[in-house]
Every structure is written in C-alpha cells, then in structure tokens.
Symmetry: C3
Subunit: 208 residues, 3 copies
C-alpha cells in the first residue's frame, strides 16, 4: 500500500491531497496537537511531524512559506529521513513539457504550465494556472502563487515568493529570499532579500 | 431527450453552450423578439423567457450581470419554475477538487480551478482560468471574470463583480453588490456596494 | 512520414514542438549557422530557412515578433512555399470551442481558452493560459503573451503585441502594430502603432 504524508495540516495540504494521484492513502502530520484526529482535504492528521521518520511513506511539505519548508526539511533530515522520500506532486491538469525538470518535494497545482526546458528545484510550490516559459529556472523552496507568468529565461532564487498574478519580464533574475507583490510587473532584476511591488515593481523596503 | 435552455441569448449563452456536456439539445430564450429564430453558440432562440415554464428542461441563466440573474430567477420562480431545474454547468477543462461545492445555476468555464474546500453558491458565473483556493466562499449571483485569483479563505459577497485578472489577498472579504476593477489588487476588505480599483485597490465611489 | 519544420530555432520553437501532436518528426531551420546541428526542444536544426522550400513538410514560424513572422512568411512565399503548408498548432490542453476559427500558421499553447465565436487569424502566437472570450477577433501576426484576458467583442489588430497578464475591456479595439505593456489594463481603444502601459493603460510614446 502506498502512502503520502502531508507535512503540515494547512490549506495547502488539502490542495496537495487533491492534486496527488496514485496513492492508496493520504494522511497528514502537524505539530499542533489540536489538529490531531481532524481531517484536512480528506487526509486524517495522525500526529506530530516526527512520526513520519519511522515510516517508509512518501512525504511532501505543505507550508506556504518556503523558509518554513526549508526548516522542516532540515528537521526531517535530522530525524533520519532520506531525501529520496520526498515526492513530486503534479496535478493531472498541469502541463509539463518533455525536457522540463521538477525536483522532489515540489508541488504543481492544476493548470500550471511548463512550456519548454524549464527547471524547477526541490520543495517549490506552484499554485494554479501559473506559467513558466522556455528556459526558466526556479530554485529550491520558491513559492509561486496563482496566475503568475514568467517570460523566457527568468531565474527565480531560493525561497523567493512571487505573489498572485505577478508577471516577470524575460531574462530577469529574482534574488533569493525576495518577495514580489501581488499583481506586480517586474521589469528589472530584484535583489536578494528585497520586497518589490507595483506596476512596474519598485522596492518598498529591504527585508530584515 | 435531455434539453438545456439558456436564459438570455447573450455572449455568455454561447460560452455556456460550449461548456455544457451531456445534453441532447441546447436552446435559448430571450425577451428580445428580434433574436427569435436566430442562433447563439449553436443554440436556437425559441422565444421569450416565459416559454421555459411549461417545459421540464434544465435551465441556466446567461446574463453577465448578477443582479439581472437574480431578477430573472425571481421571475422564473413566479412562473412556477422549481429551483431544482437550474443546472450546474462545469466545463470539462475546469478542475473542481473533491470536497468543493458548486450550487445550481452556476457556470464554471474552461480552466477554472477550485483547489480545496471551496464553496460556490447559486447562479455564480466564473469565466475561464479563474482560480479559487482553499476555503474560499463565493456567494450567490457573484460574477468572477477571466484570470481572477483568490487567496485562501476569501469571502465574495452576493452579486459582487470581480473584473478580469484581479487578485484578492487571503482572508479578505468582498461585500455584496460591490465591484473590483480589472487588474486590481485587493489587500483589504471591500465594503458592500462600493467600487474599488487599482494596484492596490482603493475606492472610487460609493455605488448608488 | 509527417514532418513539422519549426522556422527559427527560438525558445518559442521548443514550446511549439512541445505543443505539436501527431507528427512523426519535428525539425527546425535557422539562418544562424552556429545553430545548425544543435537541438531545440527535441528538434534538430537542419540548416537555413530556405531548405524548407524543397520539402513538402508542414511549417510553422516560431519568432516571437509578429513583424518578423510576417517578413518570414513573405520570404517563404518568394521561395515558392504555398500557404497551405502552414500548420495550425494547438496544444492538447488548450480549449477551442466549436464555432471558433484559428488560422494557418498560428500557435496556441497550453491552457489557452477560446470560449465562443472567436476568430484568430494567421501566424498568431498565443502563450499559455491566455483567454479570448465571445466574439473576439485577433488579426494575423498578433502576439498574445501568457495570462492575457480579453473581454467579449475585442478586436486585436495585425501584428499587435499584448504583454503578459494584460487585460482588455470588452468591445475595445487594439490597433495594428501596437503594444500593450505587461500587466496593463486597457479600458479604451489603443491606436495603431502606439505603446500603452499601466493600470489603467496610457500611451507612453508613439512608435517610430
């Protein structure tokens, strides 16, 4: 029997459960005792995060924040979880062209499009109807919200966050740990750790 | 023989006809005599709205305005139409996760995504590629245009109108009979009856 | 054996190869000698553009610029290529309603939606998840980027360029050879040859 464990009983966990195909059962874990025994997106919450260590089940981390996903991965590795246990979840209504790569632990929801030669790293979350075009590179732990559109040759840094319906001009680079606001139009490189918003996008503050 | 009647021979009627599957025939009704005998989206306009009362056919109201849909529902109920005759039309290329609900009379066009635990009321119109995420609640007679993206836990009030490509931050509430303009980015609650536009969205006037 | 030739070994060529179904082989041509013998999106670059003249293969022009596509069509016609050799490429995950038309040489990528009575001309490129609604007319050589949304009855002129995630109000006309910027919201007619940007879109300069 194949089992998928959703790590964090979040809204994203329910969305991921709906996207995952081919598992005999899907359960969740969460450190919040109050959620144990409850159900999220059809998946029962069976206990705290550390219970996954002793099973051979597939895992996927379902926190909305890439930084938190990164911390959880480190914690799970400390528990002795091997990296090959992280599943790649791609909704059947997503389109991933031959020649594209999606790393373990990443989640692509419905309507996501990877047109050609796109590289998506590990533990990346891509919400519905986001579009990655030719030669885009999306690093580990990035979060790409619904309806985002990337031109060709865009590079998205580790744990960067792209808000809903934002769009990025071709060949632009987005730094690690940066934030692009909802509906923003990014025409120039976004430096590491900064938050930019607007049409066109401009810096609002240096992240601390 | 199963029949679907499109109430109002509009552009949306043609779009709804293209989304409806499994009917033996699709026809339309419209109060405009000039349209009788014409064809909209493959559906022949057979007469005025009241002719639907005496048939047992499924019905779906195809006016772009939620307020007009509400008036037509009231009128049809006056004619003796029972609420169970309103069909739910979901395009085969939409994605509705298990656990989501879509009410009678609602229309979801191609590429619409309901990710998890989404509740869509009655007589709601959702244009292509709009995205509703976890725990969104969309009330009766709302109209959601193409490419709209809602964060998790958003509440959309009755007969609200969300313009093309607008996006709404998680946990925001949109009041009844309000309007969010095209391409707007809504970060805060939108009060009942108001019209907000821009990035970020701000009020432009109180609706009269 | 059926062959499709991608004219221009571009990023769009790789995307088009991924969208094309039913061909026994796909190859590319490009005037850049440096690309001969390389592979783009799985398609080998077999030589310069003029080599296509002597084959009976299907053709599709894969330059991002509509003006360049127009020049290449003229050049291929000079070589004796007949217009019936231009293929229409529609990704299997696009939705084209019955009653819509898409001309030869045009490319519709994944998630593109044509809802009802839409007319798309020749050598039009439509990137993923763009939405055309009822009665839209898109002229030859237009380029429509990812996530664009058009209201009903919009007219897009020849070789016009609509940037990513832009949206256009219903019944608006976009002039030939014009540009609508990324993320822009177009509420009024856009004159021939002009570039408009912003929310709402305003002219930034008259194209030279």
């Amino acid at each position: 029997m194949t089992t998928l464990v959703l790590v964090a009983a979040s809204g994203l966990a329910g969305e991921t459960a709906a996207a995952a195909a081919g598992y005999d059962q899907i359960v969740a874990v969460d450190d919040d005792r109050g959620r144990w025994g409850t159900v999220v997106g059809g998946a029962k919450v069976i206990g705290p995060v550390e219970v996954v260590a002793d099973t051979g089940a597939d895992l996927v981390i379902c926190t909305g924040s890439g930084r938190v996903r990164r911390m959880l991965v480190e914690r799970l590795l400390d528990y002795g979880v091997t990296p090959d246990r992280f599943a790649t979840i791609i909704h059947p209504d997503a389109s991933v062209a031959a020649g594209c790569e999606v790393g373990p632990g990443s989640i692509l929801l419905a309507g996501v499009r990877l047109t050609s030669q796109v590289s998506v790293g590990r533990h990346v979350v891509v919400m519905p109807n986001a579009v990655f075009t030719h030669d885009d590179i999306v690093a580990d732990f990035a979060t790409v919200c619904a309806g985002v559109a990337l031109g060709g040759g865009v590079v998205v840094g580790e744990a960067a966050y792209l808000g809903m319906s934002s769009s990025v001009r071709q060949h632009v680079t987005i730094g690690a740990d940066s934030v692009l606001g909802m509906g923003s139009v990014l025409l120039h490189d976004l430096p590491v750790g900064e938050t930019w918003v607007g049409v066109p996008a401009r810096p609002v503050r240096v992240a601390v």
